[in-house]
């Protein structure tokens, strides 16, 4: 369906793994594969730029530069020589998050190769999400878990950094360890979660919920219509007038 919707329009030559195809100029690399006749199995996931399945590298004739992109997000350009890197072997350390701390020791114990980083910046240049990969690796080497988590947050784990790293590091797996350590230990706890969970378990809402479950559609509609709506611009301290069901 998506390929069929492409209208008659300007065609451009692209080279998929070295082989020439003419494809409409406005489509993405992913749709260009399909237009050329490929049924994708590997290298295609969400088709929306978030799952990291379709990391792609390309080059133009006469240029030394290696370019990168997600195939589902990058529009074809004339004479691009491209290939997908839908999979690249990665190191994945296993750890028990309950038993480790948000420290440099945890990072290095899980991924000793972290310290091999040369700070060459190839990873940053390889990132289709424009993440400052080298900077988060520097934060990791300093043991600054919060900065590591913050800088790597948009990572889609496509693996292009890992494919190109001369120090053979798997950056994105170090990054997720950092983010999980941050989320669990450094970010302040949301105490309201535990207290609400406790109230639920103690059965505080049991009777009112059973009441709703036993109501007929008209009664429910009435209750729905009169429920008080929190104003959109209300601040965190807003409370409703009716506190019967809190």
């Amino acid at each position: 369906m998506e390929a069929q919707e492409v209208k008659k329009e300007e065609m451009v030559p692209i080279f998929i793994m070295g082989k020439r195809y003419e494809v409409p100029s406005s489509i993405t690399i992913q749709k260009a594969f399909e237009y050329a006749g490929y049924q994708l199995i590997r290298g295609c996931g969400c088709r929306g730029g978030i799952c990291g399945a379709c990391g792609t590298v390309y080059r133009f004739p006469g240029s030394y530069k290696i370019e990168v992109g997600l195939a589902c997000q990058t529009v074809v350009q004339p004479n691009m020589y491209l290939t997908q890197i839908p999979f690249f072997p990665a190191t994945k350390s296993t750890y028990d998050l309950e038993k480790i701390k948000p420290t440099i020791e945890s990072l290095v114990k899980a991924y000793p190769e972290l310290l091999r980083c040369l700070q060459c910046n190839t990873c940053t240049k390889s990132c289709p999400m424009d993440i400052e990969v080298m900077d988060y690796m520097a934060a990791a080497m300093r043991g600054d878990v919060a900065r590591l988590a913050e800088l790597s947050f948009d990572c889609v784990m496509c693996g292009l950094c890992t494919a190109r790293c001369p120090a053979e590091i798997c950056q994105y797996n170090i990054a997720i360890l950092g983010r999980r350590l941050y989320g669990k230990y450094i970010a302040l706890k949301a105490d309201h979660l535990a207290s609400m969970a406790k109230e639920v378990d103690k059965g505080k809402y049991e009777q009112m919920l059973r009441g709703l479950m036993d109501s007929n559609e008209d009664e429910l509609k009435n209750l729905y219509n009169v429920r008080e709506i929190e104003p959109e611009q209300a601040d965190e301290d807003w409370t409703p007038k009716d506190k019967t069901y809190l």
Partner: protein
């Protein structure tokens, strides 16, 4: 591609009305919400579910006579991918306690609780582990967690209002009471939920919520949840095995009528494998890639409704499939972003929706089905949609308002994913509005199950988007991530208990498939369609014409 000069000209009208609209928003003045009666009228007149030809009766199986989308009927009225007579059920390739079909949010959450209960798990998934709609959910996850203003009571009422009061009560009860616990669980797993400086979770409104209870992780909530759950599953790789690129194509039963495994298909080597299991969890997700009524979709590549047909052939009833969810805000510009989900969180954060004159025509926080119906009305009957160069129509989503309301940099901070994406197209969404139109988003219904995730077949459990009932006829924003985590965890617990205490070893059989084939034949349905579909076909028809031997299904045969 940046906006064309024609569209830039039209954006000026949005800019003209913006200051007054921002003032209104600040003073708390809202575009009036529709009454329940008005909602119903809009739906009946403009929602795609009510369009002529949008429903067709199923002619076979336990729901014979039930009218649903023809695209889904087509996969139900189809043959198995493989002749059961060719499959040797004695040749068991894998044996496990619990087999989970699908490696998305529900399947992975289930795997974690199975493992915690001391049972062995095998996840079989069509693409990579984590390739799922969960990964793509952006806006957030609902839970009543702030006791000073909210409670499961209000969450329950909102869920019902969104679902037209048709939802299955016990499922909703479980959803809303488990919600705070699931958020606590995610926080414990190190999920980076967006917080206030003192640690409380930030929360926003979604369409149809009466309290701000939408929690989130920037604008990639689903991706953050999915990658966290997946990382945790990988940490337990000793007990949780994953088979990627190996979708299930058929359930296997045993002589007692219990579910006892599945037939898997290796997409790359084209082999079929038998998995024997004491319990099976269906978590294959939704069906947006069936492109119901030709709509574009926000769904991931593998969302082809596989679980529906596998469960249905085995005898599980379907429910709530007569409604389909269209997300009001799918991108229509630029063309390469078509169908891409623009999270509801933009509207939760204050962005108005506007017609070609830069005027509001609906409150931006109606439930999704109502909001979509109003967009379609504005573009068709009222004729005030915004035309693109390719002849599509759209509605403005005024994202720059968010920077004005919440302070400069708010769009970039709260929506980093979308900000980067549009920046690449040459559009700064903190300065220019986005052009959107309803897009096929969610399978409201599915396999019938209960709050323990049990189905009518012993040993067969269901969870997540493949199941139906909890959202009634229309799901609210933020309740799908909640659904997959709540019911994924429950499915894992139920399935592992069943595997330990109730499962009965018996001879394996595919007789249910033979019976289904016979029923098709008796109903006079002669077709070469096979299901599950597994992957959509987007190949170029001109190329197809030249692929003369593609039906050989291989290279050297």
């Amino acid at each position: 591609m940046p906006y064309t000069s024609e569209l830039k000209e039209l954006i000026k009208k949005v800019e003209e009305t913006r200051p007054a609209r921002v003032e209104k928003k600040r003073s708390g003045e809202e575009f009036p919400l529709l009454s329940l009666k008005e909602r119903e009228e809009r739906l009946k007149k403009y929602h795609p579910d009510f369009k002529e030809g949008s429903r067709k009766e199923i002619r076979v199986g336990p729901n014979k006579g039930y009218a649903i989308s023809p695209e889904i009927v087509n996969i139900l009225e189809a043959k198995s991918r493989v002749n059961p007579d060719l499959i040797d059920l004695e040749k068991v390739a894998y044996e496990t306690d619990v087999l989970i079909l699908g490696g998305g949010g529900a399947g992975t959450a289930a795997a974690l609780t199975v493992q915690e209960n001391g049972a062995k798990v095998l996840i079989a998934t069509k693409l990579r582990h984590g390739d799922a709609n969960t990964m793509m959910a952006e806006g957030g996850i609902q839970a009543a967690t702030k006791g000073t203003k909210d409670s499961p009571y209000y969450h329950y009422l909102d869920v019902l209002g969104g679902g037209h009061f048709k939802n299955v009560p016990e499922l909703v009860y479980t959803l809303v009471t488990e919600a705070p616990k699931v958020l606590e669980w995610l926080e414990n797993l190190g999920c980076m939920l967006t917080k206030l400086p003192e640690g409380q979770l930030k929360s926003l409104h979604g369409g149809g919520t009466c309290r701000k209870r939408m929690h989130y992780a920037a604008d990639i909530t689903g991706a953050e949840i999915m990658r966290t759950l997946r990382d945790e599953a990988r940490n337990r790789a000793e007990d949780i095995k994953v088979l990627e690129f190996s979708p299930a194509v058929e359930l296997i039963m045993n002589e007692y009528g219990h579910c006892a495994g599945a037939v898997l298909y290796n997409l790359e080597t084209e082999e079929y494998f038998i998995v024997k299991a004491k319990a099976v969890v269906m978590a294959t997700g939704g069906s947006g890639r069936l492109h119901i009524q030709g709509f574009m979709t926000t769904n991931h590549y593998g969302a082809t409704g596989d679980g529906l047909i596998m469960g249905y052939r085995a005898g599980v009833k379907l429910c709530f499939l007569h409604t389909v969810q269209y997300h009001p805000t799918g991108a229509v510009f630029p063309e390469q972003a078509e169908g891409l989900l623009i999270t509801e969180k933009f509207r939760g954060a204050g962005a108005n929706v506007l017609n070609i004159d830069g005027q509001q025509f609906v409150n931006e926080r109606e439930p999704r089905d109502v909001e979509s119906a109003c967009f379609i009305r504005e573009c068709t009957e009222i004729g005030k949609g915004i035309p693109t160069a390719t002849g599509k129509l759209g509605i403005w989503l005024d994202s720059p308002m968010i920077d004005i309301l919440m302070g400069e940099g708010a769009v970039k901070r709260e929506f980093p994913g979308k900000f980067i994406l549009f920046k690449r197209y040459g559009i700064d969404i903190s300065k220019e509005p986005m052009l959107v139109y309803p897009t096929l988003h969610y399978q409201n219904g599915g396999l019938e199950y209960n709050s323990r995730c049990e189905t009518s077949i012993p040993g067969f459990f269901s969870s997540g988007e493949v199941s139906g009932g909890v959202h009634g006829e229309n799901r609210l924003m933020g309740n799908s991530l909640l659904d997959v985590t709540v019911f994924g965890r429950i499915a894992g617990i139920s399935a592992s208990l069943y595997a330990k205490e109730k499962a009965k070893e018996g001879k394996l059989t595919l007789d249910h498939v033979r019976r289904y084939h016979k029923e098709l034949e008796e109903a006079g349905i002669i077709t070469d369609r096979v299901a599950p579909m597994l992957l959509p076909d987007y190949s170029n028809p001109n190329v197809r014409e030249r692929q003369l031997t593609a039906h050989y299904l291989g290279t050297i045969r």
